[in-house]
């Protein structure tokens, strides 16, 4: 339990995982004491007022809520079996999650919702360390095909066998969905938050071009194609927010505090207090395109097919300059066809420049886990991506 105690413009926060009377009394007393010691927060306006919550489908699945250790183990065995059949080793996890989130406040907000999520991830590795990756997430765990995920990763590992060096440099790339996740996650962290804009640390300016016309990104927690929820951690209804439309910056996400500063309404993107990061887009979508996977790869004269990124971190936040590694399957594409597996590379690349270089977008998308929430993304082809180093595998 997380309590925000507000006295005028003074705010205290305390939390506990004990729900007995004594602990709750101490929780209230602690939060009140903290609030009384605080200077006034001049730009604080109010906690959210009650409002209608949207009817959101697909938030909860009984099958996930009642999943058992035995059913999870069965899924794990399916992944391992696929690895065995391909002659590789399987590593990974299968998790089912059930949670109830309840938000109430003294202005009358009453919101409560039970949510579920299931997820399988696996890395398959061959005898020489060649690797492949696959993952799947779903609200309803019966929709997860663990055997297929196992086969996808094992097949990728098999095709990665015998990877050879390739010179770092600028290459056109096809990024699979697992890699595109990182683009959206990082941009959400660096720039799509109202707080980042208010503190002048975001790249975001309304109307600024940050992507090609093929790039549209929005946050929508009400879409059952993602992992839906109807309200945020302040009990505010989730609203769809267009972040980038055909390459142009449109809006950012707000919580109650940042909305109050800008004279706006919260978009329902508050995180639990205290929250130094500000509001966050937890349900990002990237618009699908018209290309098939074969057309994406077929459009590379000489380029790289990248399965996913690893350990990315911003080097220059305002330019969204990011470094990271490729991982679990990189392939040289020549003449529109995969020619050979190559060893992993380091990139140092502005993600905004990457979006600007998007030349084709897959017509299909995948629901995948993100840094904090989930994302629904297509694979993309990008005209140029800067690889700045190589490693030994």
């Amino acid at each position: 339990m997380n309590l925000r105690y507000i006295q005028g413009k003074r705010i205290g926060v305390a939390s506990t995982n004990r729900l007995d009377d004594e602990a709750l009394r101490r929780l209230a007393e602690s939060a009140a004491r903290i609030a009384s010691l605080q200077p006034e927060l001049e730009d604080f306006t109010s906690l959210p007022e009650p409002g209608a919550l949207p009817e959101v489908a697909g938030v909860f699945a009984e099958a996930t809520a009642s999943a058992t250790p035995e059913s999870r183990a069965e899924a794990v065995r399916a992944v391992i079996s696929a690895a065995d059949q391909a002659g590789v080793l399987g590593f990974g996890s299968y998790a089912t999650n059930r949670e109830r989130v309840t938000v109430v406040n003294s202005l009358g907000v009453r919101a409560s919702e039970e949510r579920t999520l299931a997820q399988v991830i696996t890395v398959a590795m061959g005898p020489d360390g060649e690797a492949g990756y696959a993952e799947q997430a779903a609200v309803d765990h019966t929709r997860i095909d663990a055997a297929e995920i196992g086969r996808e990763a094992a097949e990728k590992a098999r095709r990665s066998r015998g990877a050879t060096e390739i010179e770092p440099g600028d290459y056109p790339v096809v990024l699979e969905e697992y890699a595109v996740v990182d683009l959206l996650d990082m941009l959400g962290y660096l720039g799509f938050s109202a707080l980042a804009v208010q503190e002048n640390r975001s790249f975001f300016e309304p109307g600024k071009r940050v992507g090609s016309e093929l790039v549209s990104i929005w946050d929508d927690a009400t879409d059952p194609e993602g992992t839906p929820t109807s309200f945020d951690y302040e009990g505010v209804a989730k609203r769809r927010v267009t972040l980038v439309e055909e390459g142009l910056c449109r809006e950012v996400v707000y919580d109650a505090h940042t909305a109050g500063k800008d004279g706006r309404q919260s978009t329902g993107h508050g995180l639990p207090a205290p929250n130094p990061y500000g509001p966050f887009p937890l349900n990002q979508f990237m618009g699908a395109g018209e290309s098939t996977r074969e057309e994406l790869i077929g459009g590379l004269d000489r380029g790289l097919l990248v399965t996913r990124f690893h350990y990315t971190n911003p080097v220059h936040p305002k330019l969204a300059m990011v470094t990271g590694m490729t991982r679990d399957g990189v392939f040289l594409v020549e003449g529109g066809a995969i020619s050979r597996p190559v060893r992993n590379l380091r990139f140092t690349q502005s993600y905004l420049d990457a979006l600007a270089g998007v030349a084709a977008v897959n017509r299909q998308r995948k629901l995948l886990r993100g840094f904090l929430g989930s994302v629904v993304v297509p694979a993309v082809r990008i005209e140029a991506f800067t690889f700045t180093g190589a490693t030994e595998h």
């Binding site: 939390s15 903290i34 605080q38 058992t68 996890s93 080097v315 140092t348 490693t391 030994e392």
Partner: protein, 482 residues
């Protein structure tokens, strides 16, 4: 032994466990953040519960609960056994634990000034004083400062008769200042980017003298806006402790985790280039000046304790000796697989996570001879890099790239020109083999990070790193297009 713990262990044994342990953990947290002259947040948190780990026919199970009574202890123990049996259906290599004498005793972090007993006004006042000095510098966009204290009281009991009690206190603080102009954002932090953290009381925070460093820090962030871009090329570099500790963390700490070597982290953070054949072969990890030890007994370290979370006594484990790779961070299950005893590195994030092999205090031992400043004086041409800005390393911990907040040119043994946006990159063992100077005791200090991530579901750990600064030759500096 408390009734709840005894009940959990008895239930596990009755249901067929060959081994079980139970931890009851009570954690208190207090954090204060100040942003641009105002108190942004003050928060107190408490969390308590029990975690039961059980071994059934060589397979692990784990379950936990925030409800502390005997009925719930029964339920949690039964759930842990059920999970172990389910896990057993996919088991390839049964777990086999090394022998150790039952652990017994009490440990507490030495604390001079209890951070939880000190008034909030005092702690807030110290942050505001530093914040005010930063904001007094013209050109500052926004400032942040933070204080954090954590106290964990945990009891451990196991079916082999072990029973320990520990009270561990950590404190940390940091100040940060940001200057912004156009697309340029330049940040400076003190004592390092993640905050200065130690196992100690508020006396450590006082020793940092946050306010005393605030003005110079702010002036430097403004200067960085107009500073030239750090040049690219092969350079001699000297790493300040505020950067070197993270270099050790990423390129030595993580790759020496033995569970990682065996693949249990493969689908998340990856594996390791330090495979067991390299231990047998005496792989040269670094130059002969490089001595790295995992020391869970080091005073003030975030990885200092009496026993790890499977009841193995705190110890010093050499990882790299005179440059040669000699040891791992290990557990009772993994160490026997390489013919050794556990090095005591199993740690869990609170009561609701299973222990994993984690760093304790991974320290680069100082070398008698030259202080860090004397190493600078001994350098004709190079760069001095300080305070981490970003970090990244591949999934076997070979190819790394770091950015620091600041670089200073070194010419003729003196620090001069300031450069912005420095980056450097390399391959772990090549980099450490190029180390030709390590600072002595005079600049040796304990740093650490409170947010080392590992495992699925995720766990954050407090880990320590004592360092004195070091010099490296022929390093690639300046990566990417600026």
């Amino acid at each position: 032994m408390p009734e709840v713990e005894q009940r959990a262990l008895d239930t596990c044994s009755q249901q067929g466990a060959s081994y079980a342990d139970v931890r009851v953990v009570r954690r208190e947290d207090e954090s204060i953040s100040v942003k641009s002259g105002r108190v942004e947040a003050v928060s107190l948190g408490e969390s308590e519960g029990l975690g039961v780990r059980v071994l059934v026919d060589g397979a692990w199970g784990f379950a936990s609960s925030s409800v502390l009574n005997t009925r719930e202890a029964d339920r949690v123990a039964s759930e842990a056994v059920r999970i172990a049996r389910a896990s057993g259906t996919a088991l390839r290599q049964p777990a086999d634990l090394d022998d150790r004498a039952p652990a017994r005793g009490h440990f507490a972090t030495p604390v001079e000034e209890d951070p939880f007993a000190l008034s909030l006004e005092t702690k807030i006042g110290d942050l505001l004083a530093a914040d005010e000095r930063m904001r007094a510098v013209k050109g500052i966009a926004f400032t942040e400062s933070l204080f954090h204290a954590q106290r964990e009281r945990k009891s451990f009991a196991a079916t082999d008769g072990s029973q320990t009690e520990q009270e561990i206190t950590h404190v940390g603080a940091a100040i940060e200042v940001n200057a912004v102009e156009g697309d340029e954002l330049q940040r400076r932090t003190y004592p390092d980017a993640g905050g200065g953290y130690q196992a100690a009381g508020y006396e450590y925070i006082r020793s940092l003298d946050l306010a005393g460093h605030a003005e110079a820090l702010a002036e430097e962030s403004v200067k960085l806006l107009r500073a030239p871009q750090c040049p690219s090329g092969r350079f001699t570099i000297i790493l300040d402790p505020s950067q070197l500790y993270l270099q050790i963390h990423e390129s030595c700490g993580h790759p020496t985790e033995l569970d990682r070597v065996f693949g249990t982290e493969a689908s998340y953070a990856g594996t390791s280039f330090l495979t067991t054949d390299r231990l047998d072969d005496g792989f040269m990890y670094g130059s002969e000046l490089v001595d790295i030890v995992a020391d869970a007994t080091a005073p003030g370290g975030l990885g200092t304790f009496g026993w790890d979370d499977e009841g193995v006594e705190a110890q010093q484990v050499p990882l790299v000796k005179e440059g040669r790779f000699v040891g791992y961070l290990s557990s009772r299950e993994t160490a026997p697989r390489i013919g050794r005893k556990s090095g005591g590195a199993m740690r869990a994030d609170g009561w609701n996570r299973i222990p994993l092999i984690r760093m304790t205090n991974i320290n680069l031992l100082p070398k008698p001879g030259k202080s860090l400043e004397e190493i600078v004086e001994d350098t004709d041409d190079g760069l001095y890099l300080a305070s981490n800005r970003s970090w990244s390393i591949d999934d076997r911990r070979l190819n790394f790239q770091f950015a620091t907040e600041v670089a200073y040119e070194i010419k003729g043994g003196k620090r001069g020109q300031l450069y912005k946006n420095p980056t450097y990159t390399g391959i772990t063992y090549e980099f450490w083999r190029s180390c030709d100077a390590v600072g002595d005791e005079r600049s040796y200090r304990m740093l650490g990070t409170p947010n080392c991530g590992k495992g699925e579901p995720g766990q954050l750990m407090h880990v320590g790193h004592a360092v004195s600064g070091a010099r490296f030759r022929d390093v690639q500096v300046g990566v990417g297009k600026w």
